[in-house]
């Protein structure tokens, strides 16, 4: 297995290998679709049509993309620090609780332009707090975040069910959801916002949260590669001993990385609750936290790559829904399978095509 170590040219490493990994995942899905008895090409056509065929479907694609950017960035920031945050799901959930509580408490007193930034900050704060506990446990008590963040997903879920059923449920409601947010707690939808500047698009769930997502991408990029803290964080991720040598406190850096990660995941709550549902509901993270792992792996933990990967997953999410509608034997869970396969091929089996690629390139150059 010496081949694993032999380097590829940078362009092959950065572009070709990830593309092949993703292609392998999709090839596997294609075989699976064919096994179910559906023509993969036909399915692909429907999927693409469903994802970008109309201005409405593009809107939905971008709305899903927003969530994937948040969780993808969350996983990526932790990755750079050498931490594997599997708790995006729970952090998104609690982040949603944070912005929800802020809105429920203040939407009668504050105007939107104050409340919305406040609620966004609350989402980040709650998401960060939920990540801070596993971070603290790793930094000071030596238990691995992988296990503790998994555990905290379940705890978050149990906590939210308890709160929604017993505390936050709207009076008289039969389903566990909070009262509706007031107008001050609504993040404007994209079609409304565009309408005010004279552009008309079909209504969709897409809202201005996507601007926050883009802002986060730029912010993460600047932070990781253009600030001394980002430098220290990446040093810790690659070589903790060197980070200590350089004067970095690993404990506080672990806290910082996980809190940033949790805060980013918490923004899913902003997009979902303040952008779309207009109240606190159960189960809104719907797997976005786990999908973030796929997004980060596929995007190679770089904000630019993450945007591309999030667009792809957003399109799959939206196109998959259309596909399930058109072909009854297909379900939306096909998208989940794709996410899993991307994690498998881009993550655990990332080096699978490498020896093959190496001999191919060697063949060409000789």
């Amino acid at each position: 297995m010496r081949a694993l170590r032999r380097p590829l040219p940078p362009w092959a490493d950065i572009v070709l290998l990830p593309v092949i990994n993703v292609a392998l995942a999709f090839l596997t899905v294609g075989v699976l679709v064919a096994l179910i008895g559906v023509n993969p090409l036909h399915a692909l056509k429907l999927l693409i049509g469903g994802a970008i065929g109309s201005s409405e479907s593009i809107g939905y694609t971008l709305y899903y993309t927003t969530n994937f950017i948040f969780t993808g960035l969350a996983v990526a920031v932790a990755f750079h620090a050498g931490l594997f945050n599997i708790g995006g799901e729970g952090q998104a959930y609690i982040g949603g609780l944070g912005c929800g509580l802020a809105v429920l408490a203040l939407d009668r007193y504050l105007p939107g332009w104050i409340l919305i930034p406040l609620a966004i900050a609350a989402a980040a704060l709650f998401g960060a707090a939920w990540a801070a506990v596993p971070a603290w446990m790793q930094a000071w008590r030596g238990s691995h975040v992988v296990i503790t963040t998994i555990m905290f997903n379940f705890v978050a879920s149990a906590l939210m069910v308890y709160l929604m059923v017993n505390v936050l449920i709207a009076p008289g409601s039969m389903t566990p959801q909070s009262r509706n947010f007031g107008p001050a707690g609504k993040i404007p939808s994209m079609h409304d916002a565009l309408h005010t500047i004279g552009i008309n698009v079909a209504p969709s769930a897409l809202n201005l949260s996507i601007l926050l997502a883009i802002l986060c991408c730029v912010g993460v990029w600047v932070f990781l590669w253009h600030t001394p803290w980002g430098y220290a964080l990446r040093t810790m991720g690659h070589n903790p001993e060197a980070a200590v040598y350089a004067g970095t406190n690993l404990k506080s850096m672990t806290m910082l990385a996980m809190c940033l990660s949790g805060g980013l995941a918490g923004f899913v709550g902003v997009n979902e609750l303040m952008g779309v549902h207009q109240r606190i509901v159960l189960d809104f993270p719907a797997g976005y936290g786990f999908a973030g792992i796929a997004v980060a792996l596929m995007g190679r933990s770089h904000p630019f790559g993450i945007v591309l990967a999030a667009l792809l997953f957003g399109a799959l999410q939206q196109g998959g829904a259309e596909l399930a509608f058109e072909i009854p034997s297909m379900t939306r869970e096909m998208v989940v399978v794709i996410q899993g396969l991307v994690i498998l091929f881009s993550g655990a089996l990332a080096h699978l095509p490498r020896p093959w690629l190496q001999s191919l390139l060697a063949l060409r150059s000789s």
């Binding site: 010496r2 170590r5 032999r6 600047v222 590669w225 253009h226 600030t227 001394p228 803290w229 980002g230 430098y231 220290a232 990446r234 040093t235 690659h238 070589n239 001993e241 060197a242 200590v244 040598y245 350089a246 004067g247 970095t248 406190n249």
Partner: protein, 508 residues
């Protein structure tokens, strides 16, 4: 000697990617003798033995054991042929008892009970026969390094090996333990075991072996009867030319005290005393060398002085700032005081292999101007800084964008050294300045250290290479078991007295 030698290697060849580690090596290991293989770090000794033991696959050549061709695809083949190896890093399971470690791989059946009982009896017999006493039920983690090595040797004997390979066995031992080891090897030889001793220490070759092969850059360059050679000749063969031990330097111009260490002690979480009441003074314009066998507290001393670990008791003062258990400091503050630190293990501490050279060139200084301004890291400034360092210290290739891990050891070390010297530090701590560095770079690094001394820097050098300490230091301190056991001015020091001090046998 009987007709067929224990082992014969014919034209063994091995490449790792672009590195040609072993080049057509042929050699013969006689039966019932101790054969030494000597060479510098990276000469290919360990790789060669790993091939013989089946850990690496050879790219060419043939291995013969007792005259028979013996392909070694895995250690299983080697073990079956009666070859045993004691690795430099022990292959012991810490959580297992001695007995469990002994039987691993030779359990004698699918159920443990019978095998363990038989092994216990055999262990007692071997212990008696070879004088290798060790408690069969002790947990390996609780044993001393010397005892662990005994377990390794017992493991090999337990498998009935007739050929024993030892890879740098003394690297982790105290001199007394080393002597004891050599007595054991002599006993083994008497009982007809063929021993291969891999080392880079000439003293050991002279003391223990019957014949010796010298390796340089992956090749066997000489074969000698030990009785017919001397350390000078071997040293010359090892490095390929006359070693220049003397470094041209003027007498030190000593200035004020820059580092003062008083009663410094460090006790680890298990209560082991790693540093024991250390006192030392370092003045501007001098190089103080700390000699000692690896693992006698030098690493910990550097860590404490660099601010990486806090002392348990005692204090030290760097450029006016006093540090003790209650007033800890971090490495960043140390740098601000004007202390620079070239760590012993650059791969683990001094650089980040996955970072570009430019990023490595600011490690530890990344949050300071001019690199960092208004909390923004300026990549152009960092790149220019790195290019300048590369020019000054002749780092090749001169590519700030290349990943640090892709440079050769010598160039990595030059980059780390350049980084630490760039700020003209008041105090410079240097651990193992030339470990894993090629000869050309060694001279360069030594000259730079002397230059920095002459510019008024206080330099503390820790090295396990006695030659290096002797040629570099103005004053030599010897560490043993966490204590400073001797101090000698340069010129008054010779290898023999220092050697004795390093064993703790003689205090000055």
């Amino acid at each position: 000697m009987t007709a067929a030698p224990a082992i014969e290697l014919r034209g063994i060849d091995k490449r790792f990617g672009s590195v040609h580690a072993v080049r057509g090596v042929s050699l013969v290991i006689e039966k019932g003798a101790i054969t030494g293989i000597v060479g510098e770090n990276g000469a290919g000794k360990s790789t060669l033995m790993s091939i013989l033991y089946g850990l690496y696959r050879t790219d060419g050549g043939e291995i013969l054991v007792e005259g028979e061709s013996a392909p070694m695809d895995s250690p299983r083949d080697a073990i079956a042929r009666g070859i045993g190896m004691v690795h430099q890093h022990f292959m012991l399971v810490d959580t297992f008892t001695v007995l469990e470690n002994l039987v691993l791989g030779a359990e004698g059946g699918p159920l443990l009970a019978g095998g363990l009982a038989a092994a216990r009896a055999e262990l007692l017999r071997l212990s008696r026969e070879y004088g290798l006493t060790v408690d069969p039920d002790a947990r390996v983690a609780d044993l001393s390094v010397g005892e662990q090595q005994r377990v390794e040797i017992l493991k090999v004997l337990f498998r009935g090996a007739r050929i024993l390979i030892l890879d740098e066995p003394s690297a982790v031992l105290t001199p007394q333990e080393t002597d004891q080891l050599f007595r054991i090897l002599a006993t083994l030889k008497e009982r007809g075991v063929s021993v291969v001793l891999i080392t880079h220490k000439l003293r050991e070759i002279m003391a223990a072996t019957d014949c010796v092969y010298v390796m340089r850059q992956g090749q066997v360059v000489a074969e000698r009867r030990t009785a017919d050679t001397n350390p000078e000749e071997l040293a010359e063969l090892m490095v390929g030319r006359k070693v220049r031990l003397e470094l041209d330097k003027a007498a030190p111009q000593r200035g004020e005290v820059r580092l003062e260490v008083e009663h410094l002690s460090l006790v680890d979480f298990r209560g082991v005393r790693l540093l024991d009441d250390i006192d030392l003074q370092l003045r501007a314009g001098e190089i103080v060398g700390i000699a000692g066998v690896s693992g006698n507290g030098q690493t910990e001393l550097l860590q404490v002085l660099a601010g990486i670990r806090a002392p348990t008791s005692g204090r030290f003062t760097v450029c006016g700032r006093t540090v003790d258990a209650a007033h800890a400091i971090d490495p960043g503050e140390m740098r601000d005081l004007g202390l620079a630190h070239v760590p012993e293990d650059r791969h683990r501490q001094g650089m980040v292999a996955a970072f570009r050279a430019s990023e490595t060139s600011i490690l530890g200084y990344h949050d300071e101007p001019p690199f960092s301004h208004n909390y923004i890291l300026s990549n152009p400034v960092v790149g220019a800084h790195c290019a300048k360092l590369m020019e000054q210290f002749d780092v090749r290739p001169r590519l700030p964008g290349l990943l640090s891990g892709n440079f050769s050891g010598g160039n990595q070390q030059k980059l780390v050294l350049a980084r630490e010297m760039a700020r003209k530090p008041k105090v410079l701590l240097v651990g193992q300045p030339t470990r894993g560095v090629d000869i050309g770079a060694i001279e360069f690094i030594h000259r730079e250290l002397v230059k920095s001394r002459d510019a008024g820097c206080a330099v503390l050098v820790v090295s396990v290479e006695l030659d290096e300490i002797l040629s570099l230091a103005d004053r030599i301190l010897v560490m043993f078991a966490g204590r400073i056991v001797g101090e000698v001015e340069q010129g008054l020091a010779d290898e023999r007295t220092l050697g004795l001090m390093m064993t703790g046998a003689k205090a000055a």
